[in-house]
């Protein structure tokens, strides 16, 4: 394997590892009462966000879901400002007003996590429309979960994207669960056939395998960027944690829970890294560097200040000079 390829592989690994560490830390901070509200972790699903984002440009846009930490971090949001947000601080990326379900950074095309299931899809559709109308070759990505397929917005957006040949990649993260119910008891269509009904090319890949995700995404993105219209990608994956942190998961059987480790996208990559000549020590120092980065971000976030409600009122509407 060439050095460039190794470097790429390491980069993917590092990104996934970062997401993992950030979320593991969030889980602890949440349990300790340092992160308020409720949070949905994407642990086990890091390969999808990472693989997809690895083939995106800064001017490509991403609309995300309630389980959006990975998407945000993969798209490149600042880790400090991310923790500051989830820890409800003024210096947070949304000044503590949005929290976990609304992490966003418009300057890098991260259009936000979203607390409304199914909304990410038409929002990304509109963003793709903007790219098209403005004549750029940027594209938009709509992340959504398997449960979100039951919302009419998927169908409406598949149609509009196909009709208008929009530069939009639909990315379904199929973890088999919608909250506390297996999606198989909620949605009967396969996304494959659904996309087919609208004439949109579809591809599926193993969502545990960041390289498989990146490869499928690269193909889709190349086609979309070349003006060939929308693409649908589906990645099978596993939700390692509860629907939200604190979820006792009584509805999941012990076997499923204990077998989750097998599906770890990080472990999957480790033998490949070894094969590519990455030494244990190198990985070790990568881990340490990321861990230190996360530690530092959390420390910084702890020192953040409480947001000021009165000052924030000025942001309900844009303040213009004119009357």
């Amino acid at each position: 394997m060439t050095t460039r390829k190794t470097a790429e592989l390491l980069e993917l690994y590092e990104r996934m590892y970062l997401i993992r560490q950030v979320e593991l830390r969030l889980g602890r901070l949440f349990a300790d009462g340092e992160v308020p509200g409720f949070i949905h972790l994407s642990i086990g699903q890091e390969a999808i966000a990472t693989g997809v984002a690895s083939v995106l440009r800064a001017d490509d846009s991403v609309a995300s879901t309630h389980r959006g930490h990975g998407h945000a971090l993969a798209k490149g949001v600042d880790v400090e400002r991310f923790f500051l947000e989830l820890m409800a601080k003024e210096e947070g990326m949304c000044k503590g007003r949005g929290g976990s379900m609304h992490v966003a950074d418009l300057s890098i095309g991260m259009l936000g996590a979203n607390a409304i299931v199914g909304a990410s899809i038409p929002i990304a559709l509109g963003s793709a429309l903007a790219h098209q109308v403005r004549g750029t070759d940027a594209l938009a990505v709509a992340f959504f979960g398997d449960g979100a397929m039951a919302e009419g917005t998927l169908h409406e957006s598949l149609n509009m994207a196909a009709l208008w040949q929009l530069p939009l990649v639909f990315v379904c993260e199929n973890n088999g669960w919608a909250e506390f119910s297996p999606t198989s008891r909620q949605f009967v269509a396969s996304l494959d056939k659904l996309a087919g009904a609208f004439g949109i090319p579809y591809a599926r890949a193993d969502g545990r395998d960041v390289q498989a995700v990146a490869k499928a995404s690269e193909r889709a993105v190349a086609a979309v960027r070349a003006g060939k219209g929308p693409r649908v990608l589906e990645f099978t994956t596993h939700r390692f944690r509860g629907h939200y942190e604190g979820d006792p998961q009584k509805y999941r059987d012990a076997d499923e829970l204990s077998g989750l480790g097998e599906h770890d996208p990080l472990s999957l990559l480790e033998p490949r890294l070894a094969k590519a000549g990455v030494a244990d020590a190198q990985l070790q120092s990568l881990h340490e560097a990321v861990d230190a980065r996360v530690d530092a971000a959390v420390e910084r976030a702890r020192k953040g200040s409480a947001p000021d409600f009165e000052a924030g009122r000025a942001d309900v509407y844009t303040q213009t000079g004119a009357a």
Partner: protein
């Protein structure tokens, strides 16, 4: 008499309704197998089988399905997980359910209930905390109920299910854990009657839902300061008990309305406008409102605390009213 929590009172009302009327049918997201995100439907599927069903994430169609089901002999009770998601059900409620009876010339009633939780206080953020009841109260054909305690939750939910017309039944999230007495053999309450929570001669405070407790706390403190406030729990918002408010006003000559929803164009506006007209001669001071500011519900606990109307604000308003 037994002490039950608010959530359990809801659960009992649903169980008793299912037991007594085979036409009652419950559906919603994750309400059957796991008993609902707030546990309000726990155990009901075990008892009533297929009359309690989990649905896909398709709020718009679920709500219209409730209309169709009601027209064909069921008494559907739909749970919409957060009131913010009622945005997806507006056609069903407003164009269909509310209109059918009048627009079909009185041929048919639409006996359906939509249960939905509103309100903040748990850092759920801008898309999981809204109080949108004023919208529904503006629509001829709908009824809107918002109980403040377990006994009312039981009695009014029974009444809503028995009612031949469509009812939006709003449950304040912060109340689910609240304990209160529920009489043995309790049945449906009548809809549209306010309740005097505390008698007083100096000012009338009208509230509903969780704000009733804010008003009570304020009244307790005001009493220590020598001001006797009468607290009315509206219980039903559409219709609302104009006569009860007028009767109290005729004694106190001062009126304050308190709710958690946004003040501007909120429920309090109608009460103030109406009483300001028909009670003009009774008023010794302007009618005041204490409600949420014109800002989305923020995530950070510190922001949310500043956002939510509290007893201090009520006290200040009453003191101003009585100055």
């Amino acid at each position: 008499m037994a002490e039950v929590r608010f959530g359990k009172a809801i659960n009992l009302a649903l169980a008793d309704a299912l037991e007594q009327d085979p036409a009652v049918f419950l559906f919603g997201e994750d309400i059957a197998d796991v008993g609902g995100p707030f546990g309000a439907t726990r155990g009901l599927k075990d008892r009533f089988g297929d009359r309690v069903r989990d649905t896909p994430i398709s709020e718009a169609s679920m709500a219209n399905a409730a209309v169709g089901a009601a027209l064909s002999g069921l008494k559907p009770v739909l749970e919409i997980m957060f009131m913010d998601f009622m945005t997806l059900t507006m056609d069903a409620l407003v164009n269909q359910a509310a209109k059918v009876r009048y627009m079909f010339g009185g041929q048919a009633s639409v006996p359906m209930v939509v249960r939905t939780p509103h309100g903040g206080g748990i850092s759920a953020g801008p898309q999981h905390s809204q109080c949108l009841e004023a919208w529904f109260a503006h629509v001829p054909g709908l009824k809107v109920i918002c109980p403040s305690n377990p006994a009312d939750a039981y009695g009014l939910l029974r009444a809503a299910i028995a009612d031949p017309d469509p009812v939006v039944f709003v449950e304040n999230k912060a109340l689910y854990a609240m304990k209160g007495e529920l009489a043995e053999g309790a049945g449906p309450e009548s809809i549209g009657k306010a309740r005097t929570v505390r008698a007083g001669r100096d000012a009338t405070v009208v509230a509903y839902g969780a704000a009733v407790h804010t008003a009570e706390r304020a009244a307790g403190q005001l009493a220590e300061q020598g001001l006797e406030v009468e607290v009315l729990d509206l219980r039903s918002i559409q219709p609302w008990d104009e006569a009860a408010v007028m009767e109290s006003l005729a004694r106190t000559h001062r009126l304050l309305i308190v709710h958690e929803a946004v003040e501007a164009f909120g429920v309090g506006a109608e009460i103030a406008a109406r009483i300001g007209e028909i009670g003009f001669d009774e008023l010794d001071a302007p009618i005041m409102r204490i409600a949420s500011p014109f800002v989305p519900v923020p995530f950070a606990p510190s922001l949310e605390k500043a956002y939510q109307p509290d007893a201090e604000a009520v006290i200040a308003a009453v003191r101003k009213l009585c100055a």
